[in-house]
């Protein structure tokens, strides 16, 4: 409850003080450092926003974090050192690309596993069906086949 109120307060403050995204006075003089800063901050979550990176966010906290990232970059920190520093301070919540850990294992391998499972299922079904197809036709099936063959031209015309 208190957290909700707190968040609501933060949002209304953010609305009162518009300070949009990256501003000219934040941009670093060294274009290489600046592009690294942009890359890092586009993968960091704005903690008080709704699913925005600090690079996109207009919240004051996001600006503070952008300045912090640029400060550490200017001080010579590596990208991973900056991420580690921020994760230690704010937890994994700040990373828009979640790290691969036991808790996130399903998240990262899930899509691949599902793809393989469905593919396997389809292949199995297919080969099962081929076995069936190899069997003798029943009289009913023969009749059906004859019907299909007679309407073959029709089907071909509408097959698109």
């Amino acid at each position: 409850m208190i957290r909700t109120l707190f968040l609501a307060l933060l949002f209304s403050l953010a609305a009162l003080a518009p300070a949009y995204t990256v501003r000219p006075d934040e941009v670093l003089a060294d274009p290489q450092l600046e592009s690294r800063a942009r890359a890092i901050s586009s993968e960091l979550r704005c903690m008080v926003c709704q699913n925005q990176s600090i690079d996109d966010s207009d919240a004051p906290l996001a600006r503070d974090l952008r300045l912090l990232v640029r400060e550490r970059l200017s001080a010579g920190d590596s990208d991973s050192a900056i991420r580690a520093f921020l994760t230690a301070r704010y937890g994994d919540f700040i990373l828009l690309r979640p790290p691969l850990k036991l808790e996130t294992a399903l998240l990262w391998v899930g899509p691949g596993v599902i793809f393989l499972l469905v593919a396997l299922l389809l292949l199995r079904r297919h080969y099962k069906k081929e076995d069936v197809a190899g069997a003798e036709l029943t009289t009913e099936e023969r009749a059906e086949l004859a019907a299909v063959l007679s309407s073959k031209d029709e089907a071909r015309r509408s097959a698109g």
Binding site: Y20, D25, E43, D92, L96, P98, F115, K129, S158
Partner: protein
């Protein structure tokens, strides 16, 4: 008084929905034609009452009746009329009423436009539709009543959220809802088919127009939402992998798979289980989307409803319908006849691959969207799953589909040859290769953009390889044969090419230019091939906002090609500011300017962009929808087929199964 009539009409609509949910289904069970036929008139009556309720709420908004809680909280007497009308669905209660309205429109359409379908199927579908209607009408009446009154009416309203005061609000939600809710029709038909145990090519023909229509609306709705976000949120992004966007993407992916599956079922009587499963999946994901957006369970840009009671109610609806449908599916699916046999390399095989990729893409979006919620519920740990995750998983899964799409079109039904398909696609592949090489030389990177652009060009040209080759084959004049081809063949080509255009537009984002600058009036700033000069920065006043407008000239080689007026707006009632971007479309590219701050010394902080061929992203979506429309107009084959299917009168599958 009018408001009370509206409220009462809504209650009556609920009662009618209960009737529609029971009587036709009983009739279907007993084989009683009169009970079954009642479904049509009840669906129409329910539609009339929901329209009445909706009109009453719109009336209250238009005349600014602040004695209504809903109007007080979301309107203002000074708000422009168009936003008073579209503002009806710019809030939780109103948007749920719009949901119910669209649902009743769908029900009435099934009652009116489906003369050719067998009576039990229509009764079953309308019966299931009645269940959905009853559930959501009860939801509106019990937890989200838009007609609630104050004892003492306030004098002035609190105005609509400024971000929503935009033409986008007038267009985006209705389109999206027609897409979402349109899939309820396919869901109802699938459920009716499972209940009656009769599913054949005729069923696919009856249902196909509904899938096409829902898919078209959803395509347009998503594209419109994306363009709205692009121009309104002020930093030039158009897709954020926001949970609410994902909620609309998931039914689109399932619906796209369903659309393709339908064509197999219609022409080859195969892939029945897939078709029924996808029909259930598409609407289940629409329901999930409604749950995610309406319950406020995800904190995201779009979630403006925050009431746990509502969340639990929608969750119950979700469980009831998805669970019920899946149980029905599990019980009945085994009774579905196995379809025709086909080789792995065939049109059917390609469409199975399409199903595989699209459902897995859908599952990826599902996992990424819901994983943080699930993890927090289980361990209490909070993580974020943002754009980088989806870019790493979704794109590698889906991009190869662009390569497979033209091949799929080239393959024959039943058994095709990859080599033959490849031979027919050499021109397209050659063009794609040359284009990629040229881009690599001219731009140097990024690699993903070059690959995507090459694939897009292969897809655009390859989509037409089939229809063009067929036009040049056989007797008669080329044009006569081209126009004589079934419209659905052209529709496929056009829709696929639309996808190619969208991918090309997405690829082009890699070559955009961005400048973040402090601009003095009169100072020229180069952005890509253009030069921007802000000539004046003047304050102004709108109906319910104050603004500072930065009038800016765009020059190319010293000649003024366009003028834009980006502004910083302030809405006093809500105490909110927002940037109104200035956008000039030059060719297929856009110059985009957003004012972040007006400084005391008279300068402005601005973000300037040049986005080459960015418009293709949305044009592609329009072209896809146009393909859908063309396919929808191809009715000759459809009706003839249904008539034949009815004459054949296939035996119920419960007996035919082994």
């Amino acid at each position: 008084m009018i408001v009370e009539i509206g409220h009462y009409a809504l209650v009556l609509a609920f009662v009618l929905a209960l009737f529609q949910a029971t009587v036709p289904l009983i009739g279907m069970r007993l084989g009683d034609a009169r009970l079954m036929q009642s479904a049509r008139s009840v669906a129409l009556a329910q539609f009339a009452f929901v329209v009445l309720a909706y009109a009453a709420l719109t009336y209250a908004h238009v005349v600014s009746d602040f004695s209504l809680v809903n109007v007080y909280e979301n309107s203002h007497s000074a708000k422009p009329l168009v936003y008073k009308i579209s503002g009806v669905w710019g809030n939780h209660e109103g948007s749920m009423l719009l949901w119910v309205l669209v649902l009743s429109i769908c029900g009435a359409s099934v009652a009116l436009f489906s003369r050719i379908m067998p009576e039990p199927l229509r009764a079953g579908a309308l019966g299931v539709q009645g269940w959905i209607g009853a559930a959501f009408l009860l939801f509106v009446l019990a937890t989200s009543n838009p007609f609630a009154r104050f004892a003492e009416a306030p004098l002035e309203g609190r105005d609509l959220n400024p971000i929503l005061q935009d033409p986008g609000l007038a267009i985006h939600p209705p389109l999206l809802y027609f897409g979402y809710v349109g899939f309820s029709v396919t869901f109802s038909f699938a459920a009716a088919a499972l209940i009656s145990g009769r599913i054949d090519a005729g069923w696919a023909l009856i249902v196909r127009p509904w899938v096409l229509a829902a898919w078209m609306f959803l395509t347009l709705g998503i594209a419109m939402g994306s363009y709205w976000a692009y121009y309104t949120l002020g930093w030039g992004g158009f897709w954020f992998w926001d949970p609410v966007e994902n909620a609309s993407l998931m039914p689109w992916l399932a619906g796209t798979a369903l659309l393709h599956c339908m064509s197999v079922m219609q022409k080859r009587d195969a892939l029945k289980i897939w078709t029924i499963f996808l029909a259930i999946l598409a609407f289940s994901l629409s329901l999930l989307g409604t749950f995610l957006v309406r319950s406020g369970v995800l904190t995201s840009v779009h979630a403006f409803a925050n009431d746990p009671a509502r969340g639990v109610f929608i969750l119950a609806i979700l469980v009831l319908f998805i669970g019920g449908a899946l149980i029905l599916f599990a019980v009945r699916a085994n009774a579905l006849q196995a379809g025709c046999v086909f080789a792995p390399v065939s049109r059917e095989g390609a469409l199975v691959l399409n199903n595989l990729v699209l459902t897995c893409a859908c599952a990826t979006v599902f996992i990424g969207t819901l994983y943080p919620l699930a993890l927090e519920a289980v361990t209490g740990e909070k993580i974020s799953v943002g754009a980088p995750y989806f870019n790493l998983t979704f794109i590698p899964l889906c991009l190869p589909l662009a390569l497979a799409m033209p091949f799929g079109q080239q393959l024959a039904w039943k058994r095709g040859t990859l080599l033959g398909a490849a031979q027919r696609l050499t021109i397209a592949a050659g063009c794609a290769f040359v284009a990629s090489a040229a881009l690599a030389l001219a731009k140097g990177g990024p690699v993903l953009s070059i690959i995507a652009a090459g694939l897009a060009i292969f897809l655009i040209i390859g989509s037409f390889a089939d229809v063009i080759a067929r036009s040049f084959r056989g007797p008669g004049h080329v044009l006569a044969r081209a126009f004589g081809m079934p419209r659905s063949a052209w529709a496929t080509s056009i829709a696929h090419a639309g996808m190619g255009l969208t991918i090309l537009g997405l690829a082009s984002t890699g070559w955009g230019v961005e400048e973040i600058v402090r601009m003095q009036p009169g100072q020229a700033v180069a952005v890509g091939p253009y030069e921007l000069t802000t000539t004046s920065i003047v304050p102004g006043k709108g109906p319910n906002f104050e603004q500072t407008v930065a009038h800016t000239l765009i020059r190319a080689g010293g000649v003024t090609v366009a003028e834009i007026d980006p502004a910083q707006r302030f809405y006093p009632v809500r105490q909110m500011s927002r940037a109104e971007a200035g956008i000039a479309t030059l060719g297929l590219g856009q110059v985009y300017m957003s004012v972040a701050e007006v400084n005391h010394d008279g300068s402005i902080d601005a973000r300037l962009y040049w986005k080459p061929i960015v418009v293709l992203i949305w044009i592609g979506a329009l072209v896809m929808a146009a393909g859908g429309l063309l396919s929808l107009s191809d009715r000759r084959i459809g009706f003839a087929y249904v008539a034949r299917a009815r004459r054949r009168a296939a035996p119920p599958i419960a007996q035919a199964a082994e």
